[in-house]
Amino acid sequence: MFDKISFFPEQASTFANEVDVLYLTIWGLTIFFSALVVVMMLILGIRYRRHNKIDRTHPVHTHHGLELAWSVIPLILGLMIFAWGAKLYADAYKVPENAEEVFVIGKQWMWHLQHSNGIRENNELHVPVGRPFKLTMISQDVIHSFFIPAFRVKRDVLPGHYSSAWFTATKPGKYHLFCAEYCGNEHSRMVGSVYVMTPEDFQRWQDLKGTAGGELKNPVVKKTLADEGFEIFQSVGCSNCHVAEDTARAPSLNGIYGKKRQMQNGEVLLADRDYMRSNILTPNDKITAGYEATMPTYQGSLTEEQVNSLTAYMKTLGTPDEPKPAGGEIKVRAGKVVNPPPANSTKPATGTTTGGRL
């Protein structure tokens, strides 16, 4: 216990040092102003103590110059700290384009993580140093908060809405992962570890890590999230209506991700991750212009994991400018697929279909 006393958490991300410098700067101001006031009171209190015979003529009751000074100086210092902090905040939540994505699903009381290449982890996250990672997070039940002190990264994980954060790890090691937002009985056990590895170690870890339940398997059949999404797309019946071209029943999904969509009620919405999710789970809330509300609701029958995979698949269906065909063209889309999934697969490859809560 006593050999581990420290004042700062480890610095293991690119933010860590920047946050610490600002933190220490504010401590500097805190100590300076506290000392100023305390010393001022001590000196005045002792000098003008009751029985001390000292000149007390011409007391000052108000002094506009002083009032101005102790209003304006804290204001200026405050604004400087504000700007510095706002800059850091913008950096912390503005995800770089090239960041690799990790999905985080929070649920009472565990963290479930999915790498885009299909590797799954529970309460553990393995990342290499030097590469930016984006966390795309959602909760299955209550609000959680994903907190890695060594990275100085924290973001609330909300039900019904994706949130994101990012980091670039800098120092190999094992670090704490906490849930920071109170989430019920086992809140303090909703913890885990982040393993930061050298790129070589990370590569080895990836090669060894299988996709089935996160157990080590060798040899490994790589199945990306998009591949899983494709299987779900077939098995739950999406492909019955959503085909390569727009039909009378349903719009094509090719290339819609990231595009503006016109709704029946005149609204124009951006087809982002939240849009995809809500249109899979509760499709009749927002109807695309020109279509009827015929799609069934999937709320309760698809898990957040499955929705993630479906979205990952739909993202691969071309770009807004260059739509690529869906369906049978899977081999073309995913050149890295080793074994194309059977097109008539009857059940989803992952997760369960038993309900919204695992």
Binding site: V19, G45, W70, Y89, V142, K154, P159, C183
Partner: protein, 576 residues
């Protein structure tokens, strides 16, 4: 001298008149009283009971956290204990502590009125508080609640299996009691000031309570509505905050903090009022920059309504919205700095004495400085990402709400105890307690800044071993702090039985309340005071220190309120 034995002259005007405490002794006269002083005492007893309940919960928390494992309580029990601690301390102790006890007792006396504007509304507010308190106690007896005092959705509305609805009604009722108190204060301060008591002759205590009342009246209805919506979702399954029914969980946080951040200022502003009175009296000097201190209270109350989003920097609210909340939070530093520097400057060319109320006030200054300045870390968006929901936040708000508000509450109770009860307490014990509380408080909460920055999250019963050292320090400090808090309970109660009789003005203070008897008569003043002097006119005739009555044993008082009384203080002339 008022202690002339009565049998010497039965018709003497010095014969003790009945005061508000002893004019009747029936329970009915206490429970149906409209007297603001009796209602203030009823509140004092009630909030003390809740302070003890919340304090016991705090000690359970500190003992559990001695070890990294959950060995004293189950996780579920721990969650219910910290929730009980927060709910009881905030809704049933801190919010009513100074306004409903000292404010109730002193505002009419300070402005020269017979009572508050609506005595029955005042009594009703106490009954509503008691009903709310009863709900809270019932919720505890039936097993408690595990949502924390913040009731975040959708946990509270859909998942928690505690007595959420009962607890919410407890908070709801407590809220209405403070709305009634606020309305009463605002009307009283506007309409019932004695002749000559202009706005800028009001003691700063009254200004602070005016600002507080504005928050109570404008903010509390919002939290009342929010809590009712939560009950509607939990009981009727209306989709308001639960995303599965189309609700927005973060909406709850916006609505909750819209009240609950200003609520922090409900807790601290009255304390600042108390500190102004004490510092002026024990420096024998007018508060430096009176009007700046008065208006800074209003500025804090106003700004307090526009900073709620600084509790939500990690929720994913818009970055630009966050920046607005951040910059406005830094603005709060300005009126706070104005107050602190003006208090410190008041000592200049004063006659400073260090009686126990002054020690509490100086302790307040130290703790409020740290509490306020550590707020800057949390207003700084980039740093708050790391600090949000850690023990750094816990330490910060305890410095403000416990270090600040309770220090001021105790300072006020010590300052006005002779007035309220007619008895003097043991001054030496009071000084020892003030020092113990100051030291114990820092030992408890300063380590929490460090362990918070290390990453220790709030509301954890189980934590990594490397944090244990700081938790042990904290629990040791809490033990000292608990003993410190227990001491006033002992010597103040003892003073009721064996304390020296208090004169009308034991500190030689100049506020109007010191013109009344100790304890005051049921109608406060024997005749309507006419105010012809400024607030804190300690250094009469322009020469500081002229007015230098003895701090104890001064049994004389200013009995007439004519123009001359302002220039002819009842104390002894200068020179010690």
């Amino acid at each position: 001298m008022s202690d002339i034995p009565v049998h010497h002259d039965p018709h003497s005007h010095d014969q003790p008149e009945p005061n508000y405490l002893n004019w009747s002794h029936t329970v009915k006269d206490w429970l149906l009283t409209g007297d603001h002083k009796r209602i203030g005492m009823l509140y004092l007893i009630s909030v003390t009971i809740f302070f003890i309940v919340g304090g016991v919960a705090a000690m359970f928390i500190r003992v559990e956290l001695l070890t990294p494992k959950a060995d004293l309580f189950s996780l579920e029990t721990y969650n219910r204990i910290f929730s009980a601690h927060g709910i009881v301390m905030i809704f049933f102790f801190l919010i009513p502590s100074i306004p409903a006890t000292l404010g109730n007792f002193l505002i009419p006396l300070m402005i020269g009125a017979k009572d508050l504007a609506f005595p029955r509304l005042n009594l009703l507010s106490w009954y509503i508080y008691v009903i709310g308190g009863t709900f809270a106690v019932l919720a505890l007896v039936f097993g408690g609640v595990d949502t924390g005092w913040t009731f975040y959705t959708p946990y509270s509305s859909m998942f928690s299996n505690g007595n959420v609805v009962l607890t919410i009604f407890a908070a709801f009722f407590a809220g209405f009691s403070s709305i009634f108190t606020g309305i009463n204060f605002i009307v009283t301060i506007h309409k019932m000031r004695a002749p000559g008591m202009t706005w800028f002759r009001l003691p700063l205590f009254v200004w602070a309570h005016y600002a507080t009342s504005l928050i109570m009246v404008l903010g509390t209805p919002v939290v009342a509505i929010t809590l009712l919506l939560l009950v509607a979702e939990r009981s009727l399954h209306l989709g308001i905050f639960n995303p599965n029914n189309g609700g927005d969980p973060v909406l709850f946080q916006h609505m909750f903090w819209f009240y609950s951040h200003p609520a922090v200022y409900i807790m601290i502003l009255p304390g600042m009022g108390v500190i102004s009175e004490i510092i002026a009296c024990f420096s024998r000097k007018r508060i430096f920059g009176y009007s700046f201190v008065a208006f800074s209270s209003l500025a804090i109350a106003l700004l307090g309504f526009f900073v709620w989003g600084h509790h939500m920097f990690t929720t994913g609210q818009s970055m630009y919205l966050g920046m607005v909340f951040s910059i406005l939070s830094f603005m709060v530093a300005v009126p706070s700095a104005i107050k602190v520097f003006n208090w410190a400057s008041t000592l200049h060319k004063g006659r400073v004495s260090f009686h126990s109320p002054m020690l509490y006030a100086l302790g307040f200054m130290g703790l409020f400085l740290i509490g306020g300045l550590t707020g800057l870390f949390l207003s700084t968006m980039g740093v708050d990402i790391h600090l949000q929901d850690t023990y750094f936040v816990v330490a910060h708000f305890h410095y403000v709400m416990v270090g600040g508000a309770i220090m001021a509450f105790l300072g006020g109770v010590h300052f006005w105890w002779p007035k309220m009860t007619g008895r003097m307490y043991n001054e030496n014990m009071a000084k020892v307690a003030a020092v113990m509380i100051f030291v114990g408080f820092n030992a408890t909460f300063f380590p929490q800044f460090i362990v918070g920055y290390l990453g220790m999250p709030r509301r954890y019963a189980v934590y990594p071993e490397e944090f244990q050292f700081w938790h042990i320090l904290s629990t040791m400090g809490a033990t000292l702090l608990g003993l410190g808090y227990a001491m006033p309970g002992v010597y103040l109660v003892a003073s009721l039985f064996n304390g020296k009789k208090a004169p009308a003005n034991p500190w030689g203070a100049v506020g109007l309340e010191w013109h009344a008897d100790s304890p005051p008569s049921p109608h406060n003043f024997h005749e309507t005071p006419i105010v012809t002097w400024e607030a804190y006119e300690y250094d009469i005739d322009g020469e500081a220190g002229m007015y230098d009555g003895p701090l104890e044993g001064n049994e004389e008082k200013r009995t007439n309120f004519g123009g001359e009384s302002g220039t002819e203080p009842a104390g002894h002339p200068a020179g010690d």
